[in-house]
Symmetry: C2
Subunit: 343 residues, 2 copies
């Protein structure tokens, strides 16, 4: 990406092993993330461009000499961030704060919207699916790809919000992360899930994922509607999957006293209300952050492989890598919910 | 209080039962709260004045006809807020959000810095100590009084921060609530407690309560010092017992990735940083609020009665009710840490 709206496909040198902990992965399936749309909207024009994409499935092509857990030919899932998975923060389940970790598309590491990619800290990052690519039911690939980011980001929201069968839940946002949060809340046992979103085709999928109520209203009207649905009390948990201030304002408006707001939409703001009138007065908890998806992949994998959950339903368009700009445009125009990219 | 700095002692009509759920309590011991200093600093002058004080021990004088759990002569502790202790929020442990609850000194309810007070929702509010006043070791009264607010407010911070033996803790603030938070963190098993405060006499008591390190520096220097003490990692839990923006800024500066900031200092701000650079990026959780002390009194009472904890050591001055203005002045000037008021 060279700047807002300026996505180009270019031939670049093949990635090579640079550190003994690296692996080179041939990308099998990638996608466009809602968060990729932030630079698509606002990135200043640059002369050099930045590599894009951080969600991918692939096959290991080559490994550095210190890599022991994956080898050439393995079919792997990569979390959207890399990590050693052994440092003090990784051990505490905060892999996105790994002291040796980092982000794709930055610091000399390429992006996943590519034919191949260098994966740093391969032992701590890549997870094998247990089968070779050719032995895998190809219809499962989209759902496996969601373990790279989107489904497990929704799961992180629900996990941090401590969703259980005893908690009522509001999900703010009917994008792919919001719908994933609905599915994750359902998996964690929630019986009442209110989905706030305005796009009927998306909220319909939300209902299939487990939403019991849909609120199309926004702002004060949206808050009033959720309160009306909950005897004026609000819900125990609010999963905020947007990242914009109006979504956060709705979150503290509908959270129940003593409840939890769990954010996974990357905040497009720094300061926001947290004083007596918003969070403090009702003992509301605010949690969330970049999902340490590495912590959750192994646990979710059997459910995906067995078809018990099908989070890949959030994908509704596929483009070739050469046409990735079309994918950005479709997501930006909300013509597509989430776009698969095939190299 | 008639306005900033304007504390008067006046004769007012004796309180009377107004609802069948009321009790009239003769105040035995009260005190001045750090939060009383906020109006003492900034309250606009009024013609009528507001009753002050929300922490008290007393003896029940009279009860409304629906009151069943306390009766005339009982020696009782009152939480700093009243509640029915049966509503949906009370049952979930958020008594400060009780649908029939409220605050002393507001809405026609008097304050605790008085000879007697009407207690609404007496059944849900008052807790008997198990002994008559005359059968109680009088040296325990200050510690019993801390169960009305200050110790259990510190306890709420530690409880919401999920302090255990495995968590490192920073306590911000060497006021009575901060020192109470140190004691509570110690009770919950914390082995490393860093106390941020500049007043040696106070931090000395903090060390006796369980602080293992004291950091006198503030702002960026204070943050650097705590990071230095924790291998650059910060602490798992930060208990923020001040309520001013610089304290909150230190809190997110020293919290460890994946850690918790638990606030009990009433925020004197509404908007504050919570975006990628402060909370979100490191998956920090923000929690806390007005302590539902009613939820914790019974559990703490045996420890106080047996002398296993002595949270009443935060009191270092006693004034008669007639001299309560002297008490405010001494606390405001930081000549006193916390002031007892005897009617």
């Amino acid at each position: 990406m060279y700047g807002a709206g300026d996505v180009r496909v270019e031939n670049v040198p093949d990635p090579t092993i640079q550190a003994p902990t690296d692996a080179i992965v041939r990308v099998v399936l990638a996608c466009v993330c809602g968060s990729d749309l932030h630079p698509y909207h606002g990135m200043p024009a640059t002369g050099t461009g930045v590599p894009m994409g951080h969600e991918f499935l692939g096959v290991v092509e080559e490994t550095g000499r210190e890599v022991t857990t994956v080898r050439k030919g393995d079919f792997v899932i990569s979390p959207f961030a890399f990590q050693d998975n052994t440092c003090q923060f990784c051990r505490e389940g905060v892999q996105t704060s790994c002291v040796h970790g980092g982000w794709y598309g930055a610091g000399g590491v390429g992006g996943g919207q590519a034919e191949a990619i260098r994966v740093p800290q391969a032992d701590g990052t890549l997870v094998t699916t247990g089968s070779a690519l050719e032995d895998t039911d190809q219809t499962l690939l989209p759902s496996l790809l969601t373990l790279s980011d989107v489904y497990l980001t929704g799961y992180h929201a629900a996990h941090m919000g401590k969703v259980t069968a005893r908690t009522t839940v509001t999900v703010i946002g009917d994008g792919a992360v919001g719908l994933s949060a609905v599915l994750a809340a359902k998996q964690l046992g929630a019986e009442r899930i209110i989905l706030m979103g305005r796009h009927a085709s998306r909220t319909d999928l939300g209902r299939e994922f487990g939403a019991t109520d849909v609120v199309a209203e926004r702002g004060e009207e949206g808050i009033a509607k959720v309160l009306e649905l909950t005897r004026g009390e609000g819900t125990h948990v609010v999963l905020e999957a947007v990242g914009l201030m109006p979504a956060y304002e709705m979150a503290y408006g509908v959270v129940r006293p003593g409840g939890v707001i769990s954010r996974v939409g990357v905040p497009q703001y720094e300061a926001a209300p947290i004083g007596f009138g918003s969070l403090f007065g009702k003992n509301a908890t605010l949690t969330g952050g970049p999902a340490p998806v590495r912590a959750y992949i192994e646990q979710a994998l059997p459910d995906v492989l067995a078809g018990r959950i099908n989070p890949g339903r959030v994908f509704d368009r596929t483009v070739n890598l050469d046409d990735v700009a079309v994918g950005y445009k479709a997501m930006d125009a909300r013509e597509a919910l989430k776009v698969l990219v095939t190299p």
